[in-house]
Amino acid sequence: MILRIDNLVKHYGPVRAVDGLSLEIGEGEVLGLVGESGSGKSTVGKCVLRLTEPTSGTIELGGTDITHLSRRAMRPLRRDVHMVFQDPFSSLNPRFTIEQIVAEPLLRHKVGDRREAARRVAAMLERVGLRREMARRFPHELSGGQRQRVGLARALVLEPKLVVADEPVSALDVSVQASVLNLITDLQRDMGFSCLFITHDLSVVEFLADRIAVMYLGRIVESGPTAEIFAGPRHPYTQALLSAAPVADPVRQRERRRIVLGGDVPSPMDPPPGCRFHTRCPLAYDECRTSEPLLNDPRGGGHPAACHLVTADRVPDAAK
């Protein structure tokens, strides 16, 4: 296992952003962490990079417990895990050239001499499809897609074991998004890094994730192999999420059964008792309001769901 998160909790004051979450990512595996605004998915990413201090729980990176490591002890491990952000503009230093931005992790970790660093930067820029003359330019001279390529080059130049990518293509137009997604797929296959891919966009994780974990109000409600989640979602929330994303085909889209969820997402300051989804779930019954369902896998297949209605011989259907 490259990453093992066990019972992670992160509270910001009264806000229970992540509230007991466990997940694992294997070597070379891409896990898509899916959820809507406020589900806590970005907080998970920040905890993994120790950009924020977990409240409790443990995070193991390559077998080392990093949950409470000091900054100094954390430093050598930072070679192994890097982040790609959503907005490639605000995450690139505007006063650095592209070359300097990508060289920064190498210098920080004292990898090779200046010549070696320059060679690796040039190779990395070429690998992400940026022409040689881009090296001397500044972020503001680049398009959004090019900037995201720089963000990828910076994250990958140290050949990390794990990349945490938080909505890396959400700000891009679809034609640019396509080329960045193809690039991420190629880089992942060639370099073999594991990836925690955080997004609200189901079609993106369907394209590139091996496994998917769906979050709702700070917890995982369902996880499993990508194809299985899309073919047979078990949790009513996952079913609603899949049914709500419109498909770009008017004939199919207008015939689809949609599950319209009532109400709003409850505040993470005051999550509902019992199942956190019961206030919006069309199938909720008494037990859901009082007892919290655990992430169980009674049907097997490495596809657990946190729902009282999922049993060995039955899967709920929220569309009914």
Binding site: E36, S37, S143, D173, V174, S175, Q177, A178, S179, L181, N182, T185, H200, D201, L202, S203, V204, E206, F207, A240, L241, A244, A245, P246, V247, A248, D249, P250, V251, Q253, R254, R258, V260, L261, G263, D264, V265
Partner: protein
């Protein structure tokens, strides 16, 4: 005659770098009760085209020509004092980000009532009562309580519903919605799109929906115009557009969607959008088009008929030579 007729619209902006031509020779029509999608990627001119109707463009630097007729009445030459009566009453707008369009210091009820008092001359009491009805119309639960709340007390989806309530307060003929669900989660988006559908069905409101999301277009629009570099490159009834896209750019957009992956790869559109500062006499998409031939670079293809209500600006529609 259509409700709204835009003919040969050109919109440019004076900038330090020169005249940026955002919209070039757009002509389109909108019928009563029709939902028309303007789609395309950032900078294609879809928002500028739509915002030319209520004239919500910076007055000092905007260079606008062409004709915009609403119910037969020319809007481009209307004095500002007359235009103010059109705006909010006959044509109204829903923006992408409801939090920045709502005033944080007033209750949502006050903000809805304000429009009614200004345009409809309703009394304070009558306007307050109507505000509750409007919140109910856009599907806000417990509307009598919600009118007394401030924008920060509402969720993003609820705020967007309030914006729609304000926009439809005076029963406009034309509602312009600029990426109205882009900032919303998908489970919330579905409900907001239902509100638009419902308004059209119940009140016959014509809607111009500006969106980059082809899924939204497929879900709700009757007809769509695909824009590229300031021009309409294709327009068609939605079922026809998706079944038989004729312009290579439309086809490229559809194939670039993650859901259209073939063998684990997405179809990319190589290259970049041309600069809005120059406009050579050729197909603006020719440098990125897999089907481009010599004639595409020799002159600009006009919008030509491809079928019933289907137009495309391409010399080789569907990739034929």
């Amino acid at each position: 005659m259509s409700l709204l007729e835009i003919t040969d619209l050109q919109v440019g902006f004076d900038t330090e770098d020169g005249l940026v031509q955002a919209v070039r020779n757009i002509s389109l029509t909108l019928d009563e009760g029709e939902i028309l999608a303007l789609c395309g990627e950032s900078g294609c001119g879809k928002s500028v085209t739509a915002m030319s109707v209520p004239r919500l463009l910076p007055p000092g630097t905007t260079r606008l020509s062409g004709s915009i007729r609403l119910d037969g009445r020319e809007l481009t030459t209307l004095p500002e004092s007359e235009m103010r009566k059109v705006r909010g009453k006959t044509v109204s707008v829903v923006f992408q980000e409801p939090m920045t369009s709502l005033n944080p210091s007033f209750t949502v009820g006050y903000q809805i009532a304000e429009v009614l008092r200004r345009h409809e001359g309703l009394s304070r009491q009558a306007a307050a009562k109507r505000a509750v009805e409007l919140l109910e119309l856009v599907g806000i639960p417990a509307p009598a309580r919600r009118v007394k709340e401030y924008p920060h007390q509402l969720s993003g989806g609820m705020r967007q519903r309030v914006m729609i309530a304000i926009a439809v307060a005076c029963s406009p003929r034309v509602l312009i919605a600029d990426e109205p669900t882009t900032a919303l989660d998908v489970t919330i988006q579905a409900g907001v799109l239902d509100v638009f559908r419902d308004l059209r069905d119940r009140l016959g409101t014509a809607i111009i929906l500006i969106t980059h999301d082809l899924g939204v277009v497929a879900d709700i629009a009757d007809r769509a115009v695909v824009m590229y570099a300031g021009r309409a490159v294709e327009q068609a009834p939605v079922a026809e557009l998706f079944a038989r896209p004729r312009h290579p750019y439309t086809l490229g957009l559809m194939n670039a969607l993650p859901s259209a992956a073939v063998n684990g790869r997405l179809a990319e559109i190589p290259g970049m959008v041309p600069s809005p500062l120059s406009d050579p006499d050729q197909c603006a998409f020719s440098d990125r088009c897999p089907y481009a031939q010599a004639d595409c670079r020799a002159s600009r293809p006009p919008l030509e008929r491809q079928g019933a209500g289907h137009l495309a600006a391409c010399f080789h529609p569907g990739g034929q030579s």
